[in-house]
Protein backbone atom coordinates (compact mmCIF):
# COMPACT_ATOMS: atom_id res chain seq x y z
CA UNK A 1 0.00 0.00 0.00
CA UNK A 2 2.16 2.82 -1.28
CA UNK A 3 0.70 6.26 -1.22
CA UNK A 4 3.75 8.47 -1.25
CA UNK A 5 6.00 8.33 -4.24
CA UNK A 6 8.92 10.71 -4.18
CA UNK A 7 11.57 10.86 -6.84
CA UNK A 8 13.97 13.79 -6.90
CA UNK A 9 17.23 14.68 -8.59
CA UNK A 10 18.97 17.85 -7.67
CA UNK A 11 22.55 18.98 -8.16
CA UNK A 12 24.13 21.89 -6.30
CA UNK A 13 27.66 20.97 -7.32
CA UNK A 14 28.98 20.06 -3.89
CA UNK A 15 25.71 18.43 -2.93
CA UNK A 16 23.56 16.06 -4.91
CA UNK A 17 20.21 14.57 -4.07
CA UNK A 18 19.11 11.50 -5.94
CA UNK A 19 16.29 9.51 -4.40
CA UNK A 20 13.43 7.39 -5.61
CA UNK A 21 11.26 6.35 -2.70
CA UNK A 22 7.96 4.63 -2.21
CA UNK A 23 6.64 5.23 1.25
CA UNK A 24 3.61 3.91 3.10
CA UNK A 25 0.54 6.06 3.53
CA UNK A 26 0.27 5.46 7.27
CA UNK A 27 2.46 5.69 10.32
CA UNK A 28 5.65 7.61 10.88
CA UNK A 29 8.37 7.36 8.28
CA UNK A 30 11.65 8.60 9.67
CA UNK A 31 14.19 10.08 7.27
CA UNK A 32 17.41 9.41 9.12
CA UNK A 33 20.89 10.62 8.33
CA UNK A 34 23.76 12.78 9.46
CA UNK A 35 23.95 16.46 8.61
CA UNK A 36 24.55 16.90 4.92
CA UNK A 37 22.87 13.60 4.08
CA UNK A 38 20.07 15.40 2.29
CA UNK A 39 17.25 14.50 4.63
CA UNK A 40 16.07 18.07 5.13
CA UNK A 41 16.49 18.88 1.44
CA UNK A 42 14.32 15.88 0.62
CA UNK A 43 11.64 17.07 3.02
CA UNK A 44 11.78 20.59 1.60
CA UNK A 45 11.40 19.19 -1.91
CA UNK A 46 8.33 17.31 -0.79
CA UNK A 47 6.92 20.49 0.71
CA UNK A 48 7.74 22.46 -2.41
CA UNK A 49 9.90 24.87 -0.41
CA UNK A 50 12.72 23.83 -2.68
CA UNK A 51 12.26 22.86 -6.29
CA UNK A 52 14.22 19.93 -7.59
CA UNK A 53 14.72 20.39 -11.34
CA UNK A 54 14.02 16.69 -11.88
CA UNK A 55 11.26 15.36 -9.73
CA UNK A 56 8.06 13.46 -9.47
CA UNK A 57 5.96 13.54 -6.35
CA UNK A 58 2.67 11.83 -5.87
CA UNK A 59 0.77 11.81 -2.60
CA UNK A 60 -2.43 9.84 -2.22
CA UNK A 61 -2.79 9.74 -5.99
CA UNK A 62 -2.43 13.52 -6.32
CA UNK A 63 0.54 14.72 -8.34
CA UNK A 64 2.31 17.61 -6.62
CA UNK A 65 5.27 17.74 -8.94
CA UNK A 66 6.08 16.24 -12.29
CA UNK A 67 9.01 17.89 -14.00
CA UNK A 68 8.29 16.01 -17.21
CA UNK A 69 4.94 17.73 -17.50
CA UNK A 70 6.39 20.95 -16.04
CA UNK A 71 3.97 20.63 -13.16
CA UNK A 72 4.89 22.12 -9.82
CA UNK A 73 2.31 22.89 -7.19
CA UNK A 74 3.49 25.83 -5.07
CA UNK A 75 3.75 25.12 -1.35
CA UNK A 76 0.65 27.08 -0.40
CA UNK A 77 -1.47 24.90 -2.65
CA UNK A 78 -0.24 21.62 -1.16
CA UNK A 79 -2.49 20.12 1.54
CA UNK A 80 0.36 19.49 3.97
CA UNK A 81 1.40 20.37 7.48
CA UNK A 82 5.00 21.39 8.12
CA UNK A 83 6.82 21.62 11.43
CA UNK A 84 10.15 23.44 11.29
CA UNK A 85 13.23 22.81 13.41
CA UNK A 86 12.68 26.14 15.13
CA UNK A 87 9.01 26.45 15.97
CA UNK A 88 8.83 29.40 13.60
CA UNK A 89 5.67 30.89 15.06
CA UNK A 90 4.65 34.33 13.83
CA UNK A 91 6.03 36.63 16.52
CA UNK A 92 3.33 39.27 15.93
CA UNK A 93 0.45 36.86 16.53
CA UNK A 94 -0.82 35.26 19.72
CA UNK A 95 -0.91 31.48 20.04
CA UNK A 96 -4.57 31.55 19.09
CA UNK A 97 -3.97 33.71 16.01
CA UNK A 98 -1.04 31.52 15.02
CA UNK A 99 -3.34 28.51 15.17
CA UNK A 100 -6.03 30.27 13.18
CA UNK A 101 -3.66 31.64 10.56
CA UNK A 102 -3.85 28.53 8.42
CA UNK A 103 -7.42 27.64 9.40
CA UNK A 104 -8.70 30.90 7.94
CA UNK A 105 -7.13 30.03 4.63
CA UNK A 106 -8.52 26.57 3.95
CA UNK A 107 -11.78 25.86 2.28
CA UNK A 108 -13.00 22.92 4.31
CA UNK A 109 -12.66 24.00 7.88
CA UNK A 110 -12.27 20.83 9.94
CA UNK A 111 -14.19 22.55 12.70
CA UNK A 112 -13.34 23.55 16.21
CA UNK A 113 -13.84 20.06 17.63
CA UNK A 114 -10.83 18.80 15.72
CA UNK A 115 -8.74 21.74 16.90
CA UNK A 116 -9.88 21.26 20.50
CA UNK A 117 -8.76 17.64 20.35
CA UNK A 118 -5.37 18.60 19.00
CA UNK A 119 -4.91 21.26 21.68
CA UNK A 120 -5.91 18.76 24.32
CA UNK A 121 -3.56 16.14 22.98
CA UNK A 122 -0.64 18.56 22.93
CA UNK A 123 -1.53 20.11 26.25
CA UNK A 124 -1.55 23.73 25.10
CA UNK A 125 -5.18 24.77 25.64
CA UNK A 126 -4.14 27.14 28.42
CA UNK A 127 -1.67 29.05 26.26
CA UNK A 128 -4.08 30.51 23.71
CA UNK A 129 -3.74 34.18 24.68
CA UNK A 130 0.05 34.16 25.08
CA UNK A 131 2.49 35.70 22.64
CA UNK A 132 5.16 33.35 21.26
CA UNK A 133 7.98 35.19 23.04
CA UNK A 134 6.41 34.23 26.36
CA UNK A 135 6.45 30.49 25.65
CA UNK A 136 9.14 28.00 26.52
CA UNK A 137 10.91 26.25 23.65
CA UNK A 138 8.90 23.09 24.24
CA UNK A 139 5.59 24.95 24.33
CA UNK A 140 6.47 26.82 21.18
CA UNK A 141 7.19 23.59 19.35
CA UNK A 142 3.92 22.05 20.54
CA UNK A 143 2.00 25.08 19.28
CA UNK A 144 3.82 24.73 15.95
CA UNK A 145 2.76 21.07 15.74
CA UNK A 146 -0.84 22.00 16.56
CA UNK A 147 -0.74 24.79 13.99
CA UNK A 148 0.29 22.31 11.30
CA UNK A 149 -2.23 19.68 12.38
CA UNK A 150 -5.10 22.15 12.64
CA UNK A 151 -5.23 22.27 8.85
CA UNK A 152 -6.21 18.62 8.64
CA UNK A 153 -3.31 17.98 6.26
CA UNK A 154 -2.98 14.94 4.04
CA UNK A 155 0.60 14.49 5.15
CA UNK A 156 2.57 15.90 8.07
CA UNK A 157 6.19 16.85 7.45
CA UNK A 158 8.44 17.38 10.47
CA UNK A 159 11.99 18.69 10.14
CA UNK A 160 13.95 17.75 13.27
CA UNK A 161 11.24 19.18 15.51
CA UNK A 162 13.21 18.34 18.65
CA UNK A 163 16.72 19.23 17.52
CA UNK A 164 16.71 22.75 18.92
CA UNK A 165 15.45 21.67 22.34
CA UNK A 166 17.48 20.59 25.33
CA UNK A 167 17.24 17.09 26.74
CA UNK A 168 14.53 17.96 29.24
CA UNK A 169 12.29 19.60 26.66
CA UNK A 170 12.81 16.66 24.31
CA UNK A 171 11.57 14.32 27.00
CA UNK A 172 8.61 16.64 27.43
CA UNK A 173 7.59 16.46 23.78
CA UNK A 174 8.40 12.87 22.84
CA UNK A 175 5.40 11.45 24.71
CA UNK A 176 3.14 13.85 22.80
CA UNK A 177 4.61 12.62 19.55
CA UNK A 178 4.07 9.02 20.59
CA UNK A 179 0.46 9.83 21.41
CA UNK A 180 0.03 11.61 18.10
CA UNK A 181 1.43 8.55 16.47
CA UNK A 182 -1.35 6.42 17.88
CA UNK A 183 -4.13 8.86 16.99
CA UNK A 184 -3.13 10.24 13.62
CA UNK A 185 -4.36 8.52 10.52
CA UNK A 186 -2.21 10.49 8.10
CA UNK A 187 1.34 9.65 7.10
CA UNK A 188 4.09 11.55 8.89
CA UNK A 189 7.52 12.15 7.40
CA UNK A 190 9.91 12.88 10.22
CA UNK A 191 13.50 14.05 9.72
CA UNK A 192 16.01 13.36 12.46
CA UNK A 193 19.60 12.42 13.17
CA UNK A 194 18.72 11.02 16.58
CA UNK A 195 18.67 7.25 16.99
CA UNK A 196 16.52 7.66 20.07
CA UNK A 197 13.79 9.34 18.05
CA UNK A 198 14.10 6.65 15.37
CA UNK A 199 13.61 3.93 17.97
CA UNK A 200 10.74 5.71 19.64
CA UNK A 201 8.76 6.89 16.64
CA UNK A 202 9.61 5.13 13.41
CA UNK A 203 7.39 2.60 11.70
CA UNK A 204 9.27 2.96 8.46
CA UNK A 205 12.89 4.00 8.28
CA UNK A 206 14.73 5.60 5.39
CA UNK A 207 18.48 5.96 5.84
CA UNK A 208 20.05 8.75 3.82
CA UNK A 209 23.70 9.32 3.11
CA UNK A 210 25.26 11.80 0.67
CA UNK A 211 21.92 12.52 -0.91
CA UNK A 212 21.05 8.89 -1.55
CA UNK A 213 18.73 6.49 0.19
CA UNK A 214 20.89 3.66 1.55
CA UNK A 215 17.98 1.67 2.84
CA UNK A 216 14.25 2.00 3.14
CA UNK A 217 11.76 -0.33 4.75
CA UNK A 218 10.05 -1.22 7.99
CA UNK A 219 11.93 -0.21 11.12
CA UNK A 220 13.03 -3.70 12.14
CA UNK A 221 13.95 -4.63 8.60
CA UNK A 222 16.09 -1.54 8.10
CA UNK A 223 17.58 -1.58 11.58
CA UNK A 224 18.79 -5.09 11.11
CA UNK A 225 20.37 -4.67 7.73
CA UNK A 226 24.00 -5.53 8.21
CA UNK A 227 25.10 -3.63 5.12
CA UNK A 228 23.89 -0.33 6.56
CA UNK A 229 26.14 1.61 8.95
CA UNK A 230 23.35 1.76 11.52
CA UNK A 231 23.80 -1.90 12.46
CA UNK A 232 27.51 -1.42 13.00
CA UNK A 233 27.09 1.57 15.24
CA UNK A 234 27.78 1.39 18.99
CA UNK A 235 24.16 2.31 19.54
CA UNK A 236 22.88 -0.39 17.20
CA UNK A 237 19.59 -1.74 18.46
CA UNK A 238 16.38 -3.36 17.41
CA UNK A 239 12.92 -2.27 18.44
CA UNK A 240 10.17 -4.76 19.10
CA UNK A 241 6.50 -4.07 19.28
CA UNK A 242 5.12 -5.82 22.34
CA UNK A 243 2.12 -5.74 24.63
CA UNK A 244 1.95 -5.91 28.39
CA UNK A 245 0.97 -9.53 29.23
CA UNK A 246 1.31 -9.88 32.97
CA UNK A 247 2.62 -8.10 36.06
CA UNK A 248 4.77 -10.02 38.54
CA UNK A 249 4.38 -7.71 41.46
CA UNK A 250 6.45 -9.85 43.83
CA UNK A 251 9.51 -9.48 41.69
CA UNK A 252 8.72 -6.00 40.48
CA UNK A 253 8.67 -7.30 36.92
CA UNK A 254 6.38 -7.11 33.93
CA UNK A 255 6.10 -9.75 31.28
CA UNK A 256 5.49 -8.47 27.77
CA UNK A 257 4.50 -10.55 24.79
CA UNK A 258 5.82 -10.06 21.29
CA UNK A 259 5.47 -11.94 18.05
CA UNK A 260 8.10 -14.50 19.00
CA UNK A 261 7.55 -15.12 22.72
CA UNK A 262 7.76 -13.04 25.83
CA UNK A 263 10.25 -10.96 27.79
CA UNK A 264 10.56 -10.06 31.44
CA UNK A 265 11.13 -6.36 32.00
CA UNK A 266 11.48 -4.18 35.06
CA UNK A 267 7.93 -3.32 36.21
CA UNK A 268 6.07 -1.14 33.74
CA UNK A 269 3.28 1.08 34.96
CA UNK A 270 0.75 0.15 32.29
CA UNK A 271 -2.36 -1.97 32.04
CA UNK A 272 -2.29 -5.46 30.60
CA UNK A 273 -2.78 -5.18 26.85
CA UNK A 274 -1.00 -1.83 26.49
CA UNK A 275 1.22 -1.73 23.41
CA UNK A 276 4.87 -0.98 24.09
CA UNK A 277 8.05 -0.45 22.13
CA UNK A 278 10.94 -2.36 23.59
CA UNK A 279 14.42 -1.44 22.48
CA UNK A 280 17.20 -3.99 22.71
CA UNK A 281 20.74 -2.76 22.20
CA UNK A 282 22.98 -5.14 20.27
CA UNK A 283 25.63 -4.75 22.99
CA UNK A 284 23.16 -6.18 25.56
CA UNK A 285 22.68 -9.41 23.63
CA UNK A 286 24.97 -12.42 24.04
CA UNK A 287 24.89 -15.80 22.29
CA UNK A 288 25.09 -19.36 23.65
CA UNK A 289 25.17 -22.57 21.65
CA UNK A 290 23.12 -24.50 24.19
CA UNK A 291 20.23 -23.45 26.37
CA UNK A 292 21.88 -21.99 29.44
CA UNK A 293 20.42 -23.85 32.41
CA UNK A 294 21.93 -21.91 35.22
CA UNK A 295 22.01 -18.24 34.44
CA UNK A 296 20.90 -15.07 36.17
CA UNK A 297 19.64 -13.70 32.91
CA UNK A 298 15.86 -13.95 32.69
CA UNK A 299 15.44 -13.44 29.01
CA UNK A 300 16.80 -16.38 27.07
CA UNK A 301 15.27 -17.11 23.70
CA UNK A 302 15.95 -19.57 20.90
CA UNK A 303 17.03 -17.98 17.64
CA UNK A 304 18.61 -18.70 14.28
CA UNK A 305 21.62 -16.85 12.91
CA UNK A 306 20.77 -15.20 9.61
CA UNK A 307 23.77 -12.98 9.14
CA UNK A 308 27.21 -12.08 10.47
CA UNK A 309 29.21 -8.95 9.73
CA UNK A 310 32.28 -7.20 11.04
CA UNK A 311 31.56 -4.39 13.40
CA UNK A 312 33.98 -1.82 14.78
CA UNK A 313 36.96 -2.59 17.01
CA UNK A 314 37.23 -6.35 16.41
CA UNK A 315 33.58 -6.86 17.13
CA UNK A 316 31.10 -8.94 15.17
CA UNK A 317 27.50 -8.03 14.55
CA UNK A 318 25.26 -11.07 14.43
CA UNK A 319 21.79 -10.89 12.99
CA UNK A 320 19.34 -13.37 14.47
CA UNK A 321 15.79 -14.35 13.74
CA UNK A 322 13.42 -15.61 16.38
CA UNK A 323 11.00 -18.39 15.49
CA UNK A 324 7.46 -17.28 15.27
CA UNK A 325 5.08 -18.54 17.90
CA UNK A 326 1.64 -18.78 16.43
CA UNK A 327 -0.33 -18.42 19.62
CA UNK A 328 1.47 -15.29 20.67
CA UNK A 329 1.63 -13.53 17.35
CA UNK A 330 -2.12 -13.50 17.06
CA UNK A 331 -2.55 -11.43 20.17
CA UNK A 332 0.05 -8.89 19.21
CA UNK A 333 -0.82 -6.08 16.86
CA UNK A 334 2.41 -5.75 14.99
CA UNK A 335 2.51 -2.64 12.98
CA UNK A 336 6.24 -2.82 12.79
CA UNK A 337 6.74 -6.32 11.49
CA UNK A 338 4.73 -7.39 8.54
CA UNK A 339 6.42 -10.79 8.57
CA UNK A 340 5.97 -11.41 12.24
CA UNK A 341 9.44 -12.81 12.62
CA UNK A 342 11.37 -10.80 15.18
CA UNK A 343 14.94 -9.98 14.34
CA UNK A 344 17.64 -9.17 16.81
CA UNK A 345 21.17 -7.83 16.60
CA UNK A 346 23.95 -9.10 18.85
CA UNK A 347 27.27 -7.35 19.32
CA UNK A 348 29.92 -9.87 20.37
CA UNK A 349 33.70 -10.03 20.11
CA UNK A 350 35.12 -11.52 16.97
CA UNK A 351 37.01 -13.97 19.14
CA UNK A 352 33.77 -15.30 20.63
CA UNK A 353 32.26 -15.63 17.19
CA UNK A 354 35.25 -17.70 16.08
CA UNK A 355 35.42 -19.84 19.21
CA UNK A 356 31.73 -20.67 19.02
CA UNK A 357 32.07 -21.28 15.30
CA UNK A 358 29.04 -19.13 14.56
CA UNK A 359 27.66 -19.56 11.09
CA UNK A 360 24.59 -18.55 9.16
CA UNK A 361 21.78 -21.03 9.72
CA UNK A 362 22.92 -22.16 13.17
CA UNK A 363 20.34 -22.55 15.92
CA UNK A 364 21.51 -20.78 19.06
CA UNK A 365 20.18 -19.17 22.22
CA UNK A 366 20.28 -15.43 22.85
CA UNK A 367 20.57 -13.94 26.30
CA UNK A 368 19.21 -10.44 26.65
CA UNK A 369 20.87 -8.58 29.49
CA UNK A 370 18.96 -5.37 29.26
CA UNK A 371 16.04 -3.72 27.53
CA UNK A 372 14.59 -0.27 27.50
CA UNK A 373 10.98 0.67 27.13
CA UNK A 374 10.35 3.53 24.78
CA UNK A 375 6.83 4.59 25.57
Amino acid sequence: MTTIQACFQLDYGDFKLDVDLKLPGTGITVLFGHSGSGKTTLLRCIAGLQRAPQGKLEINGHVWQDSERDLFLPTHKRPLGYVFQEANLFPHLSVQDNLHYGLKRIKQNPGSVKLEQTLELLGISHLMQRMPEHLSGGERQRVAIARALALNPEVLLMDEPLASLDFKRKQEILPFLSRLHQQLDIPVLYVTHSQQEVAQLADTLVILEDGRALASGSLSETQSRLDVPLAQDREAATVWQATVAEHEADYHLTRVAFAGGSLSLPAVDAEVGTPLRVQIYARDVSIALEAPTATSILNVLPATITGIADGRDSQSVVLLRLPRMAEVSQSVGNRCDQVGNQTLLAYITRKSALMLGLQIGMAVYVQIKGTSILN
Binding site: H76, Y82, N88, F90
Partner: protein, 228 residues
Protein backbone atom coordinates in the same frame (compact mmCIF):
# COMPACT_ATOMS: atom_id res chain seq x y z
CA UNK B 1 4.70 86.03 14.99
CA UNK B 2 3.85 83.96 11.94
CA UNK B 3 2.21 85.96 9.21
CA UNK B 4 -0.66 84.51 7.20
CA UNK B 5 1.74 84.14 4.26
CA UNK B 6 4.02 82.13 6.53
CA UNK B 7 1.11 79.93 7.57
CA UNK B 8 0.26 79.37 3.92
CA UNK B 9 3.78 78.17 3.23
CA UNK B 10 3.60 75.86 6.23
CA UNK B 11 0.34 74.41 4.97
CA UNK B 12 1.64 74.00 1.45
CA UNK B 13 4.78 72.31 2.75
CA UNK B 14 2.70 69.89 4.77
CA UNK B 15 0.52 69.14 1.75
CA UNK B 16 3.44 68.48 -0.54
CA UNK B 17 5.25 66.35 2.03
CA UNK B 18 2.08 64.38 2.80
CA UNK B 19 1.31 63.59 -0.83
CA UNK B 20 4.95 62.86 -1.60
CA UNK B 21 5.20 60.51 1.39
CA UNK B 22 2.09 58.60 0.34
CA UNK B 23 3.48 58.24 -3.18
CA UNK B 24 6.90 57.21 -1.90
CA UNK B 25 5.39 54.48 0.27
CA UNK B 26 3.34 53.29 -2.68
CA UNK B 27 6.35 53.11 -4.98
CA UNK B 28 8.96 52.39 -2.32
CA UNK B 29 7.28 49.34 -0.75
CA UNK B 30 7.32 47.06 -3.81
CA UNK B 31 10.69 48.50 -4.82
CA UNK B 32 12.24 47.79 -1.40
CA UNK B 33 10.70 44.30 -1.33
CA UNK B 34 12.05 43.54 -4.77
CA UNK B 35 15.50 44.85 -3.83
CA UNK B 36 15.48 42.72 -0.69
CA UNK B 37 14.47 39.51 -2.43
CA UNK B 38 15.96 39.70 -5.89
CA UNK B 39 19.19 38.25 -7.15
CA UNK B 40 18.79 40.10 -10.44
CA UNK B 41 21.94 41.61 -11.98
CA UNK B 42 20.14 44.97 -12.03
CA UNK B 43 19.96 45.05 -8.26
CA UNK B 44 23.21 46.99 -7.90
CA UNK B 45 22.21 49.60 -10.48
CA UNK B 46 18.76 50.12 -8.98
CA UNK B 47 20.20 50.37 -5.47
CA UNK B 48 22.64 52.99 -6.72
CA UNK B 49 19.94 55.01 -8.45
CA UNK B 50 17.75 54.93 -5.36
CA UNK B 51 20.62 56.07 -3.13
CA UNK B 52 21.92 58.72 -5.54
CA UNK B 53 19.88 61.65 -4.11
CA UNK B 54 21.67 61.06 -0.80
CA UNK B 55 24.98 62.24 -2.19
CA UNK B 56 23.98 64.38 -5.18
CA UNK B 57 23.75 68.15 -4.56
CA UNK B 58 20.01 68.98 -4.69
CA UNK B 59 20.70 71.63 -7.29
CA UNK B 60 22.11 68.99 -9.62
CA UNK B 61 19.04 66.83 -9.26
CA UNK B 62 16.85 69.91 -9.64
CA UNK B 63 18.70 71.00 -12.74
CA UNK B 64 18.27 67.66 -14.49
CA UNK B 65 14.62 67.48 -13.50
CA UNK B 66 14.09 70.95 -14.86
CA UNK B 67 15.63 69.95 -18.17
CA UNK B 68 13.80 66.61 -18.35
CA UNK B 69 10.40 67.98 -17.41
CA UNK B 70 10.75 71.22 -19.39
CA UNK B 71 8.99 71.67 -22.73
CA UNK B 72 12.03 70.41 -24.63
CA UNK B 73 12.73 67.42 -22.34
CA UNK B 74 11.40 63.91 -23.01
CA UNK B 75 9.25 63.91 -19.87
CA UNK B 76 7.97 67.39 -20.69
CA UNK B 77 7.03 66.30 -24.22
CA UNK B 78 5.19 63.35 -22.80
CA UNK B 79 3.24 65.40 -20.25
CA UNK B 80 2.34 67.95 -22.92
CA UNK B 81 1.21 65.17 -25.24
CA UNK B 82 -0.92 63.79 -22.41
CA UNK B 83 -2.50 67.23 -22.05
CA UNK B 84 -0.97 67.86 -18.63
CA UNK B 85 1.23 70.75 -19.64
CA UNK B 86 4.76 71.01 -18.31
CA UNK B 87 5.57 70.21 -14.70
CA UNK B 88 8.25 72.70 -13.64
CA UNK B 89 6.99 75.53 -11.43
CA UNK B 90 3.77 73.67 -10.59
CA UNK B 91 2.59 71.91 -7.46
CA UNK B 92 2.61 68.54 -9.26
CA UNK B 93 6.13 69.12 -10.49
CA UNK B 94 7.26 69.84 -6.97
CA UNK B 95 5.66 66.62 -5.73
CA UNK B 96 7.41 64.59 -8.44
CA UNK B 97 10.73 66.21 -7.59
CA UNK B 98 10.18 65.61 -3.87
CA UNK B 99 9.46 61.94 -4.45
CA UNK B 100 12.67 61.48 -6.41
CA UNK B 101 14.68 63.49 -3.90
CA UNK B 102 13.44 61.77 -0.74
CA UNK B 103 12.84 58.21 -1.93
CA UNK B 104 16.07 56.79 -0.42
CA UNK B 105 14.78 57.82 3.00
CA UNK B 106 11.75 55.61 2.43
CA UNK B 107 13.29 52.71 0.55
CA UNK B 108 16.29 52.18 2.80
CA UNK B 109 14.49 51.82 6.16
CA UNK B 110 12.01 49.50 4.42
CA UNK B 111 14.82 47.43 2.95
CA UNK B 112 16.53 47.15 6.33
CA UNK B 113 13.26 46.14 7.89
CA UNK B 114 12.36 43.61 5.19
CA UNK B 115 15.74 41.94 5.27
CA UNK B 116 15.42 41.33 9.01
CA UNK B 117 12.35 39.17 8.36
CA UNK B 118 13.47 35.57 8.25
CA UNK B 119 12.96 33.44 5.20
CA UNK B 120 11.52 30.90 7.61
CA UNK B 121 8.58 33.12 8.52
CA UNK B 122 7.68 33.36 4.84
CA UNK B 123 8.03 29.60 4.43
CA UNK B 124 5.84 29.00 7.46
CA UNK B 125 3.16 31.17 5.89
CA UNK B 126 3.42 29.20 2.64
CA UNK B 127 2.98 25.90 4.48
CA UNK B 128 -0.12 27.45 6.08
CA UNK B 129 -1.70 28.05 2.67
CA UNK B 130 -0.87 31.73 2.30
CA UNK B 131 -0.04 32.87 -1.24
CA UNK B 132 2.98 35.16 -1.66
CA UNK B 133 0.79 38.29 -1.82
CA UNK B 134 -1.22 37.14 1.18
CA UNK B 135 2.04 36.47 3.03
CA UNK B 136 3.25 39.97 2.25
CA UNK B 137 0.23 41.61 3.82
CA UNK B 138 -0.33 39.17 6.70
CA UNK B 139 3.29 38.57 7.74
CA UNK B 140 5.72 41.01 6.13
CA UNK B 141 3.77 44.24 6.67
CA UNK B 142 2.99 43.63 10.35
CA UNK B 143 6.55 42.51 11.07
CA UNK B 144 7.98 45.50 9.19
CA UNK B 145 5.72 48.02 10.94
CA UNK B 146 8.59 49.91 12.61
CA UNK B 147 10.26 50.09 9.21
CA UNK B 148 7.14 51.59 7.63
CA UNK B 149 6.85 54.13 10.44
CA UNK B 150 10.44 55.29 10.18
CA UNK B 151 10.20 55.31 6.38
CA UNK B 152 7.10 57.53 6.53
CA UNK B 153 8.56 59.85 9.16
CA UNK B 154 11.93 60.20 7.47
CA UNK B 155 10.39 60.63 4.03
CA UNK B 156 8.04 63.32 5.31
CA UNK B 157 10.66 65.15 7.35
CA UNK B 158 13.19 65.11 4.56
CA UNK B 159 10.66 66.49 2.07
CA UNK B 160 9.82 69.30 4.49
CA UNK B 161 13.51 70.15 4.74
CA UNK B 162 14.34 70.32 1.05
CA UNK B 163 15.48 73.61 -0.47
CA UNK B 164 17.72 73.24 -3.47
CA UNK B 165 15.43 71.05 -5.53
CA UNK B 166 12.46 73.27 -4.73
CA UNK B 167 14.27 76.35 -5.84
CA UNK B 168 15.29 74.75 -9.13
CA UNK B 169 12.04 72.97 -10.00
CA UNK B 170 9.39 74.85 -8.07
CA UNK B 171 10.54 78.39 -8.06
CA UNK B 172 9.04 80.74 -5.55
CA UNK B 173 5.36 81.06 -6.44
CA UNK B 174 3.10 81.90 -3.46
CA UNK B 175 0.48 79.23 -2.68
CA UNK B 176 1.77 76.99 -5.46
CA UNK B 177 5.39 76.23 -4.83
CA UNK B 178 6.54 78.50 -2.05
CA UNK B 179 7.43 76.15 0.80
CA UNK B 180 8.79 76.94 4.26
CA UNK B 181 12.46 76.65 3.48
CA UNK B 182 12.08 79.06 0.57
CA UNK B 183 10.03 81.46 2.68
CA UNK B 184 12.77 81.56 5.31
CA UNK B 185 15.23 82.40 2.54
CA UNK B 186 12.89 85.19 1.39
CA UNK B 187 12.68 86.61 4.91
CA UNK B 188 16.43 86.60 5.32
CA UNK B 189 16.92 88.23 1.93
CA UNK B 190 14.52 90.99 3.04
CA UNK B 191 16.33 91.22 6.41
CA UNK B 192 13.13 90.17 8.23
CA UNK B 193 15.05 88.25 10.86
CA UNK B 194 12.22 88.03 13.37
CA UNK B 195 9.90 86.32 10.85
CA UNK B 196 12.76 84.07 9.77
CA UNK B 197 13.29 83.14 13.41
CA UNK B 198 9.70 82.04 13.87
CA UNK B 199 9.66 79.80 10.80
CA UNK B 200 13.15 78.43 11.39
CA UNK B 201 12.17 77.70 14.98
CA UNK B 202 9.11 75.79 13.77
CA UNK B 203 11.24 73.62 11.48
CA UNK B 204 13.89 73.05 14.13
CA UNK B 205 11.27 71.95 16.65
CA UNK B 206 9.60 69.75 14.06
CA UNK B 207 12.80 68.03 12.98
CA UNK B 208 13.96 67.57 16.54
CA UNK B 209 10.66 65.98 17.61
CA UNK B 210 10.57 63.70 14.60
CA UNK B 211 14.06 62.35 15.22
CA UNK B 212 13.40 62.08 18.94
CA UNK B 213 10.39 59.89 18.20
CA UNK B 214 12.47 57.77 15.82
CA UNK B 215 15.29 57.17 18.25
CA UNK B 216 13.35 56.83 21.49
CA UNK B 217 9.94 55.40 20.62
CA UNK B 218 10.78 53.38 17.51
CA UNK B 219 14.40 52.76 18.54
CA UNK B 220 15.63 53.09 14.96
CA UNK B 221 19.29 53.18 14.15
CA UNK B 222 20.71 56.60 13.30
CA UNK B 223 19.94 57.71 9.75
CA UNK B 224 23.52 57.62 8.58
CA UNK B 225 23.31 54.14 7.05
CA UNK B 226 22.68 55.20 3.46
CA UNK B 227 24.69 52.65 1.52
CA UNK B 228 24.24 49.72 3.82
Amino acid sequence: MLTSADLDTLLLTGKIAGIATALMLLIGTPLAWWLTRTSSPFKGIINTLVALPLVLPPSVLGFYLLVLMGPAGPVGKLTVWLGLGTLPFTFAGLVVASVLYSIPFVVQPLQASFSSISEQALEAAATLRASPLDTFFSVVVPLAKPGFLSAAILGFAHTVGEFGVVLMVGGNIPDKTRVVSVQIYNHVEALEYSEAHWLAGCLLLFSFSVLLVLYTVLKTQPVAHPLK
